[in-house]
Amino acid sequence: MTSEKAIISAKHVVKTFDAVKAVRDITFEVKKGEIFAFLGPNGAGKSTTIKMLTTMLKPTSGQLRLAGHDVTKERDSARKAFGIVFQDPSLDEELTAYENMELHASLYGVPKAKRAKRIENLMELVELWNRRNSLIKTFSGGMRRRLEIARGLLHEPKVLFLDEPTLGLDTQTRNLMWDYVQKLSHEKGMTIFFTTHYLDEAEDVAERIAIIDKGSIIAIGTTTELCRLTKTTTLEEAYLQLTGRALRDESEAGNNNALNAKMALRNRRLR
């Protein structure tokens, strides 16, 4: 049963591309208002999972629910309930910052009476209001990211997905960005689901962390729980303990079964 407080729930979700199993039977829940980090090495299945949760990919089997909607069957209702900051930039460079926001408001059916005020408030929040009439192609990477976050919040989603949101940003911008996100989560009770390769970020910001490797979730818990499980002292050590030190591209497919057995064992212990 899905607990009442869960805003995201994945049950036995599998995604297969031709012969490759990108996601193998994952089950997890994210509580309402939680800041949840999704970690894993390259090619572990993070992006595939986010794509499935955000209706961009259909799962091969299993069930995904978001804010009370079946993600595959009630796609449009689910889409209204989340905002997303994609891993790659997704602004129209030839438009101004304001025009990008306006377009998003229109796409998500934000009531006309509320549009102007909401756009102004959010652009003030990310400190870009005075650049509202500048073309995006004149913006730095950090400014673009901030605007994308503001845009993702424009339709007041219940869940905000951030797919490696701080990739390529300097420390100042990273800190500033996480400050906004935490503030939003605390003030508005918004659920945050993010992926990152920076473990310090996950340790500082996330309330709970899931680690995915080779398509399976191998551990879920708070940083303290993960450290206790692996008998380590930092999230980074715990992460390396769980996922190994080998480079992903070099690992052999044949090792998967042994690893899966290990994962299942760890999963059981955590539950």
């Binding site: 961009m56 602004l91 030839e94 438009l95 796409l107 073309l135």
Partner: protein, 250 residues
């Protein structure tokens, strides 16, 4: 603003802001009018075929619309490559709404370009056979632009990189133009070329415009046949665009 208007406006803003694209797109028709209209025009007249400019202008207008519509497809490709399409496709709206608003923007650009070339040809000495039919020609131009924009959208949805798009341009767009009746009359050409031209939908677009702008004596098939084939072409390109756009994978 509603979704349609804002998607349409997006295309217009991008078009107006890109001065180089605006100028560049007029360069080729002017070159063709100069080189062919005046260069080959002399030989054409000597061969007893009459005023070549009168024959050529509808072809050049069609070529402008064809190129503009196909190159508009590059915007879809850019959106796909540079991420903006994800923002459009993950929104709680139907893909067909996104396609419709954007494609109407693309078609408007083609129409503007077509009208510009028409004006330029007036400066070059072209005179419509009957001014009363010019508004009808304009209606045909709109129809043509929408059909060809759909074609461009469908192609752009299918390819993933700019090299691929360039290949399609060389393999498809150039033949569509050169193997139509845009540059030469179909009367005295070899049979194989005639068959190819008669299978080419662009031929009928040129022919319809020729009927309306240069007069009935310049047409090959007659306006009724031209319009029927254009309507079929429109339905085919429209379903092609919708089908391909719906299949874009993120």
């Amino acid at each position: 603003m509603d979704l349609f208007t804002i998607l349409w406006l997006r295309q217009m803003r991008r078009y107006v802001r890109s001065g180089s694209r605006l100028l560049g797109s007029l360069g080729q028709p002017i070159l063709l009018l100069l080189a062919l209209g005046y260069g080959i025009g002399a030989i054409y007249r000597r061969a007893g075929e009459g005023n070549y400019l009168e024959f050529l202008v509808p072809g050049i207008i069609t070529q402008t619309v064809l190129l503009s519509a196909i190159f508009w497809g590059i915007i879809i490709l850019q959106d796909k490559r540079f991420g903006f399409l994800a923002e459009l496709l993950v929104a709680p709206v139907k893909r067909i709404q996104v396609l419709f608003g954007s494609a109407c923007g693309g078609a408007t650009i083609s129409i503007i370009q077509g009208c510009m070339v028409f004006t330029i040809s007036i400066i070059f000495g072209f005179r419509p056979h009957n001014w009363v039919l010019v508004p009808v020609a304009f209606a045909v131009l709109i129809f043509m632009s929408v059909a060809l924009t759909c074609f461009g959208a469908g192609i752009a949805s299918m390819v993933d990189d700019f090299q691929g798009f360039q290949g399609i341009n060389n393999l498809l767009v150039m033949p569509l133009f050169f193997l139509s009746s845009a540059l030469y009359p179909l009367n005295n050409i070899p049979t194989f070329l005639k068959i190819i031209s008669e299978c080419n939908p662009v031929t009928y677009m040129v022919d319809a415009l020729r009927y309306l702008l240069s007069g009935p004596s310049q047409t090959h098939f007659g306006i009724a046949k031209d319009l029927i084939i254009m309507a079929i072409t429109f339905l085919v390109t429209l379903s092609f665009a919708v089908n391909r756009f719906n299949h874009i994978q993120m």
